[in-house]
Amino acid sequence: MDFQLTEDQRALRDGVRALLAGRFGPEALRTAVARGGRGLDRALWRELGEAGFFSLRLPEADGGVGLGLPEAVLAFEEAGRVLLPGPLVATHLAAGEVAGAATGETVVTAVYGGLVEWLDESDAVRDGAGGPAGDGAAGAVPLTSVDPLTPLHRVPGTFPTDPTAHAGPVGDTGPTGPPRPPDHLATLLTAAEQLGNAARTCERAVQHARTRQQFGQPIGAFQAVKHLCARMLVRVELARAAVYAAAVTADPMDIAAARLLADDAAVRGARDCLQVHGGMGFTWESDVHLYLKRAWVRTRRGGSATVSEELLARDLVAGAGR
């Protein structure tokens, strides 16, 4: 067992980070916000395609990079760090399935939990539960998205209003009527983005706490602020261990666990980051709100959190008593 990044994995992560820093830095983020989520940057999409972002897991024989889930997770973590906009997960999962997805020529979105991201800017729509692409987005109506960088459509009637309806009682012979499975890979890649989101908000909170002065000292010297930051880091590190492990095992239970911890780290991390920034954190000018809003959007991609909780509860009683 050697549960640490390999040299190659480090190099890949650093490469993706450098690419994104050059191509989607803070300036580009602000420009994208100014565009108000209209007009997905197709040039960037194709550059990502060329760099292998979408074809990362496609076999080399099919023109892909031939890497695995752990590498994909590292790339998505980096995308999460910079708030890279667009239906990245859906397009990545469509590579090899929808023509042009692997190269970034085609933008593919998907229906997750009754929501579709970037519908008007996409060329194809997948069924987010892993089924074949169809007209799953038929009748979708636009929402005024809370996240200025993620336009959203709502698909009427697809929201599982009662998650327990999918998780009936467990019989003595084992679980029956399992919850409708979310697309595990979409859930995992989303968790990786949440991890990047969480890690970045922790760094930004710490940076601010080191420099902002009040009462004659950096606010990071105050224990109340210090402890907020420490809690953020602990959530990030636990989520990281869970997400990376799930990438290695691809086990649905590991993925469900990773998802819960990564959502928690991203959402609470962004809120704490906002708190550490004080009044500045509440402004449109500061980017902090963007992390929170995107984290909220992503929490819906893996289906409702209660479905993951039910899956993990069943896991405790599955098998012969453990």
Partner: protein
Amino acid sequence: MDLTYTAEEEEFRARLREWLAKTLPALPPKPSLGDWPGRRAYDLGWQRTLYDAGYAGLHWPLDAGGRGATPVQHLIYLEETEKAGAPYVGANFVGLLHAGPTIAAEGTTEQRARWLPPVLRGEEVWCQGFSEPDAGSDLAALRTRAWRDGDDYVVSGSKIWTSHAEVADWCELLVRTDPDAPRHRGISWLAMSMDAPGITVRPLRTLAGSAEFAEVFLDEVRIPVAHRVGAENDGWRVTMVTLSYERGTAFVGEVVACRRVLGELAHAARGNGRWDDPALRRWLGRLNAEFRALWRLTQWNVSEAERTGGVPGVGGSVFKLRYSHARQELYDAAAEVLGPEALDLEQEWTRDRLTSLSYTIAAGTSQIQRNIVAERILGLPKGR
């Protein structure tokens, strides 16, 4: 990133499992909670059994009499012994997990030869005399005083919360050897025989009802200068070595225990109908996520230790922070499952719930751990 174990590691696991399967059924019954001499004998007996089978001091270095096992082998050892329900280190905790490793790292050849073998053979029990009534979180505020008198130190003062003091043979003792030096510079680390004249041990009753720890009064106790580990007044540095061991690997096996307890809890809920409560079920599901992640974090930290090969780092604080709270929550969930039974002290769950209240206090409170994470990992400034 690789979570599969090598053939060598799997072989180590298989041999250990086989040995546990044939050894554990022959163990004597566990003594009752209040029976201290019985518990000492039981814990030392288990240590002797480990010694005879070649498993004693697995993670200690070879030249300290240990087995020089890799961190991953140690992880496998903790996982398998816990899964098999083997006895806990118990009274051997301090000797095996931090006094021993500290002496191995900082002691002289004579000191290592004197103190390490009896710990490994299950002949001597150690306790930790760090905290004082006015020096807990602020350990460097300790006042227990040591004067030089010929070849001895003469020590007076008092210690508190000393676990296993009643049954210990030796105590890792922090004393102030230079009252005029800045507070971190005047401390020394001594090994004190608990038989020395002038020592009074007064058991303290914990909120769980048992006498797990004690107050220790020291009235002109003579300790040979040769029993000092590290240089005079350099005890704070030695103490940091001790604390890093204490926080490093001490809780690994317990994550495995928590996962087992959680499984038992789910089955109990199935049995008494509480499983039909969706809120409770989801709470257990979330705890499952939590302990799975804590186990992964353990594997991550152990792999890191294996690569860097050093003393366990501050990553232990990250783990301890989340683990101690998660374990308390586990017993809160247990109380929801048990209902009225959760108020019955005869229930093991209830006693474990009470015991778990100390996890956010002992070995550094959560507040102190957060300071460590913020200042040493995140680099935030120290403040008042």
